[in-house]
């Protein structure tokens, strides 16, 4: 499940979206998305707001990462 998402730094000086994921077994992970990937995630999740991402299934990230 996506726990939350925050704007963060990318190594190339652009803002990125850091999405934190909480898995069922309790494991945490974070995935960093560039602007196009972040936009796609927002679209895929029908999110208007970063807060709308919370609670979405983590599998949403799979198709986003493939781009």
């Amino acid at each position: 499940m996506i726990a939350d998402a925050t704007v963060g730094p990318g190594h190339d000086g652009e803002a990125v979206l850091v999405v934190r994921v909480r898995h069922e077994n309790g494991a945490h992970d974070s995935v960093t998305l560039s602007a196009p990937a972040a936009r796609k995630l927002m679209d895929d999740c029908d999110a208007k707001d970063l807060e709308d991402l919370a609670g979405q299934p983590w599998q949403r990230l799979l198709s986003v990462l493939e781009t």
Partner: protein, 553 residues
């Protein structure tokens, strides 16, 4: 008769042993003597009293490939004390490259490294296709040493043509790439670079990303024949995938006996476990005898943006984020509409809280007096709020004003310092010469000394010098560099340990066709010597020396 005699320096020899007082004699491009008080005569004497005399710094992660073709000094790298650069990183090199693939490769460089077309076209003549001819074009023409990597993407393009960006290679194609890589290594390449993440100007994956593991394995076998480096950009956006890449690099390292290095690895408070988990895995793999060197940059990460191009920076401010995605004309109109302005400002500064944008710096502006100031300070002076000012300035300058949120990541010396000091970390990843219109990639070495030696004390002077000289040469297998010892190549940087630092970031127009880039000047660097010749000095600036060599040989 010596060529150069450096007197009374505090010698830090790059090995990590303690600094000591003494002279250095240079003759025929070599260190003729290190230490002592030399009585021999010399054509040039340098008084280094109060200064550190160190091996020239080595920058293992640059993209000076094109720049060096029209700027022999890779400015301003040399004046920061850098005497050797590795270029050809991240799967991108200018050779081997058939002439018909040039536009394709330039497109990748433009997209990935954010370099302007003018840096490639018109600024120099493409005199080569083969790696050997590329190296020939550099010889005698450069003021600092180059340790060139061969890029995986051009290798694929050469052998597979447009299929390079579409499919895995056949066994025969792999064998051809092996032969081609062998040619590069024979001609002086210090290794191969590849990338798992980059995209070209059409946002399509670069050719290297279409390689299956057997291809990288086969190319690594060729690296193994020469004991050379594999440089990789892993899927750094995910810790789990990066861990898998660390394991994969370790397998390649062990199977072929080669060193490998990956970057970026940087610290962000938002992914607190990232660095720890990756370093733990790196340590495990080193303990097995693998070499998987994470490159860590010294400088913090700044984020810059303008209202002209949609930036994720505003993602936490939905209203700003949405309006920013409007077409230009419409956006400008909205920004001048009183109701929209009020709504934007209220959203960013609810109840008059002006914190959201107060810390933003003005990056560039038609009004030079604004550059480097914070919106908070300026707003106070002008009796307005930071959000209001952000809108007003953007409108005034027709959206052509950039703002900067400084030190957004990799910014906490208490976390970054120990990481840089870690024996398993390769200090590098400057990306020098890339992203030139976004930020300055120069002066990371000065920042290492100012922030982590002087201010933080995370590394001793000797450790810091060793990290960017002796260690780098040893990690990359550069024959006779990185140490001050009799007989070694005379690459020497003289600097003031109390003052060495990077300067402010400034926009300049020194690219071909008057192109703009950000640079940082150096402070505290006094003299830079490359292969026994004076290349730069604080007093005289750049010299006409072109003593740089291909540092692999």
């Amino acid at each position: 008769m010596l060529d150069i005699l450096i007197r009374n320096g505090r010698i830090i020899d790059g090995s990590g042993t303690p600094a000591f007082m003494g002279d250095i004699g240079i003759q025929d491009g070599r260190l003729q003597q290190v230490g002592g008080h030399i009585t021999a005569e010399a054509r040039r004497e340098i008084d280094a009293r109060g200064q550190v005399v160190a091996p020239g710094f080595i920058d293992p992660h640059t993209h000076f490939d094109a720049q060096l073709m029209w700027d022999a000094e890779a400015r301003p790298a040399l004046e920061h004390g850098v005497t050797t650069v590795v270029h050809g990183n991240c799967s991108l090199s200018l050779a081997p490259l058939k002439s018909e693939h040039r536009p394709r490769l330039v497109g990748m460089f433009q997209q990935i490294e954010e370099m302007p077309d003018a840096a490639f076209n018109g600024a120099f003549e493409w005199q080569w296709e083969s790696f050997g001819d590329f190296v020939k074009a550099l010889r005698g023409q450069i003021a600092l040493n180059v340790a060139p990597l061969a890029g995986h993407s051009p290798l694929r393009l050469w052998v597979m043509g447009e299929d390079a960006a579409q499919r895995a290679a056949t066994a025969d194609e792999i064998a051809q790439m092996q032969d081609l890589l062998r040619e590069c290594l024979e001609a002086g390449a210090v290794g191969l670079s590849t990338s798992y993440v980059d995209v070209d100007e059409n946002l399509a994956p670069v050719p290297s990303r279409f390689a299956h593991f057997d291809e990288l394995d086969a190319l690594s076998a060729v690296l193994g024949e020469y004991g050379r480096m594999l440089q990789v950009v892993p899927e750094f956006f995910s810790t789990d995938i990066t861990l898998a890449r660390v394991d994969q690099l370790a397998e390649l390292s062990l199977r072929h006996g080669i060193p490998t290095t990956f970057s970026p690895l940087f610290d962000s408070a938002l992914s607190p476990g990232n660095v720890t988990r990756i370093m733990d895995r790196v340590a495990e793999q080193f303990a097995r005898g693998a070499r998987v060197w994470p490159q860590v940059q010294t400088r913090p990460i700044d984020i810059s943006f303008s209202l002209e191009q949609a930036s994720l920076f505003f993602m936490a401010q939905p209203m700003w984020y949405m309006i920013q995605r409007l077409p230009r004309a419409e956006l400008l109109e909205k920004l001048q509409d009183p109701a929209t302005r009020k709504a934007l400002i209220d959203a960013a500064e609810p109840g008059g809280m002006t914190l959201a944008f107060a810390h933003l710096l003005i990056r560039d502006s038609r009004d030079a007096s604004l550059i480097g100031r914070t919106l908070g300070d300026l707003a106070k002076e002008r009796g307005t709020t930071p959000a209001t000012l952000l809108i007003d300035l953007s409108v005034e300058e027709d959206l052509n004003i950039h703002f900067l949120s400084a030190s957004m990541g990799h910014e906490d010396p208490a976390r970054v310092g120990p990481l840089l000091a870690n024996d398993l970390v390769h200090v590098g990843a400057s990306d020098a010469g890339a992203h030139i219109q976004s930020f300055a990639t120069y002066g990371d070495t000065g920042y290492l000394f100012s922030t982590f030696v002087r201010d933080g004390g995370h590394l001793s002077l000797e450790q810091a010098v060793r990290k960017i000289t002796g260690d780098t040469a040893q990690i990359w297998g550069l024959r006779d560099r990185g140490l001050l010892r009799t007989g070694m190549a005379a690459d020497v940087t003289i600097f003031d340990p109390e003052n060495i630092a990077r300067g402010e970031e400034l926009p300049v127009n020194d690219m071909p066709e008057n192109g703009m880039r950000y640079v940082r000047s150096a402070s505290g660097v006094d003299t830079v010597i490359v292969n026994g010749e004076l290349a730069w000095s604080a007093e005289g600036g750049y010299t006409a020396s072109r003593a740089g060599v291909i540092a692999s040989a």
